[in-house]
């Protein structure tokens, strides 16, 4: 089936199998390997991207369902002026170790802050409940999201 998907602002038309997952589409068809796959039960959030601005687990969506939509991955987040505030906060607060959950975690955080620009710690934890991290114990991820929210990224 033909799909036209804009990924990080770049639109292409591709012929895909109807059962192809968006996560695999991004990785295999578009060659964007930052989006990781951590499970097969839509539990872990490693594959989180934004679809039309909303955070979505890309392993729960078929590529054909993203036809005609805007998809954002972590590769498209940094602007010409450098890292996105969430990316910068993740580095400043040491919110990543092995980095595997990170692209999904960053995109989920971007999605969370666009819905709730000033979340409390509890709201951050609830907002990221669907994103697993084995390395950080979430401590510094929560701090990073707060830091990004406070705009203390300078």
């Amino acid at each position: 089936m033909k799909v036209e998907i804009a990924v990080n602002g770049e639109k292409t038309t591709d012929d895909v199998e109807p059962r192809l997952l968006l996560a695999h589409y991004l990785r295999e068809v578009r060659g964007l390997k930052a989006t990781n796959i951590g499970c097969d039960t839509s539990s872990c959030g490693a594959c989180t991207v934004l679809v039309d601005g909303e955070s979505v687990k890309s392993c729960t969506v078929l590529a054909v369902q993203a036809d005609g939509r805007q998809v954002s991955t972590v590769e498209g987040l940094a602007g010409d002026d450098g890292l996105h505030p969430v990316q910068r906060a993740f580095q400043q607060e040491h919110a990543l170790q092995c980095g595997f959950c990170t692209p999904g975690m960053v995109m989920a955080s971007v999605g969370l802050l666009s819905e709730n620009p000033h979340p409390t710690e509890q709201e951050i934890r609830e907002g990221l409940e669907g994103n697993f991290c084995r390395c950080t114990g979430y401590h510094n991820i929560v701090r990073a999201v707060r830091r990004a929210a406070e705009g203390a990224d300078a």
Binding site: E17, R19, R27, G31, K33, A34, T35, N36, G38, C39, D40, T41, S43, C44, A46, V74, E75, L77, A78, L83, Q87, F90, Q91, Q92, H94, L96, Q97, C98, G99, F100, C101, T102, P103, V106, E121, I124, R125, E126, L128, E129, G130, N131, F132, C133, R134, C135, T136, G137, Y138, H139, N140, I141, V142, R143
Partner: protein
Amino acid sequence: MSILGTRVVRTEDPLFLTRGATYTDDLVDERLRGAAYVTFVRSPIAHGRITSIDTSAAAGAPGVVAVFTAADTEGDGGLSPLPPPLPMFTKGMDRPPFAKDTVRFVGDIIAAIVTEDRYQGEDAAELVDVDIDPLPAVVDPRKALDDEVLLFPEAGTNTIFTIPGEFDDSVFDDCDVVVTREIVNQRLAAAPMEVRASAAVWGEDGRLTTWISNQAAQMAKAALVAALAVDADKVRVITPDTGGGFGAKIGADLEVCLVAWIAGKIGRPLRWVETRSENLVGMTHGRDQVQTIKIGGNRDGKVLAYRLDVIQDSGAYPLFGALLPALTFSMATGVYAIDRLQFRSRSVATNKTSVAAYRGAGRPEAAAAIERAMDLFAAEIGMDPVEVRHRNLLPPEVFPYKTKGGSLYDSGDYAAALKMVTDEVDYPKLRQEQAERRARGDVVQLGIGVSVYVEVTGGGDESGAPKENATVEVHPDGTVTVLTGTSPHGQGHQTAWSMLVSDQLGIPLDRITVKYGDTDLIPEGGGTMGSRSLQQGGVAVHEATTELVQIAKARAAELLEANVDDLVVDTDRAAITVAGVPTTAITFAQLAEKEKLSVRKVFTAPGATFPFGAHIAIVEVDTESGKAELRRIVTVDDAGTILNPLLFDGQRHGGIAQGVAQALYEEVLYDDDGNPLTSTFAAYPFLSATEVPSFDLLRMQTPTPYNPLGAKGIGEAGTIGATPAVQNAVVDAVSHLGVRHIEMPTTPERVWTAIQDATGGQA
């Protein structure tokens, strides 16, 4: 000012945050062009006889390149069964590359299917027709000891390895009080977020290049060389970015060996990445000990004797897990002065996934047992658990101290650590609040749990562990390359090792590249495990840099026509200058231009080091529902001198979270027939962000005399301290109702049942 000890953010992060790390499944490499994919067909039955395997339908499915089963591994160019990793293990328990006549756990590999693409592999796997006659399964390790059902009839026993112990009850004769109890340290999944993956290709030159998500390329290479029965120079292992390991990515698993072997058979590059459901049955599990403790002492709080009897569930095929009790033994008495220790262990095979290392590996089990035992003893004599600990802690002046478990503790100050955490939480006030809630009969009760721990890290030469090596080379363009035998998978070696070099040379961090995990480039090294990296690999980098400065000075002395003793390093300019004459200078880069400037150094650790700490956990337990929630955890973790507090605390956070997860939530479960009940992330209660609070970290630094950095290991400490602190807290919350013990994970059901049992349903 030295950069060492300062908070430096990671230099690896910008790439990880913008393009993502390059994990094995992300590799784009010319050598892997046209790679096929492998899918393993696994046993759905825990124990049984294979009566037939029909692969014909699968072989004819779309995209199928080849199908392999046990029959294909026989004869020339075949693959031999993998023997257990240690010579002292019981013979006759080899693992065949593919299950041949018998399957021994759900997940045992029966066939491998090679396809052009990944989805085809999943389709074809479903077409393999396997008939298995079920046999009775041994699931409980206590039952495995009876040898009624044998996994390996030819071995004649399920027992793999024992540490024999004489249990002479007279050591408890003079004790006022003796407490005995069985404690289960449950089975856990390591569950790194990146599952296992590998890629393999054989070159025209007959050499294998294989990329493996792993913690130690050199060990993985050794395992592959043995499995494939090829010369060592025929194998090159490359470690891409690795998304967590936690002990479960040490060496080369059978799957990785099969991928390499099959790539040779089909003469094509091959890739493998498992699914999470496959990971949760195929990757080794951790912990899984049944412990019986016996602790005796006097009413004044002094412990006189301690016994620990361990049954280690090792799973279907003996791996490192069968040896975990040896580590448990070495740390059995923990931080306490206990002269009478009795220990016995028996490691047994069961029809479950094999057990191997998981964060702490044998030491968390030791700490959990002794810390639970101390609380049981304290409850029995009616003394505060903090007070009981203070009466038994080893004092700071005893070091070096040889324990009855055979460990030689290097340094420590346990009482100071305990005092630091109790002061921080205002312990007496907490106890008062607890008393008030109890008096009021509140539904939600407060629990305060303490643990004081010591652990062993960075086993030195004496344990047969590899020495660690480093090469530091300055290039004419002023950049530096560091080669290390350690292997990061989240710890931040790029930043840490660069700091060690930059400290002495003044070359900025962003001009330093750390390379690891390529056995052609770095043939020797022990990888990253057992909290060894900084204290061995980092020290080697430090010492190589020190020597490089000396060489540079000697050369500069000639060029500058100065006396070597008058030369100093000007770190602002990354140069060597004559003291007091800053205009006379030559940079490291200029020296490298004239002659290769490179030093390789091997560090020999005189012995293992022993980090320690104290944790206090505060929980609230709803006595009606049984739900326990962690409100606060305060820890001091002393691992000697700190190189980078950012990385140091990061290791603690992750470790503490995994400890909390074991105490409250996580457990790998099987039914009575050996069917796994937690083989997906929907079923395994992986810790999420809402289940932990932020952590309160305090610091203490007691340097080790064993290396010039004074550093011990911090990778596992958090896990070791947090687990018993949280478990003790949950029990403490309901101890006034008569509860003495609740098994981990302390789920609402278990807590509720414990309350009902203690109160006869009156609570």
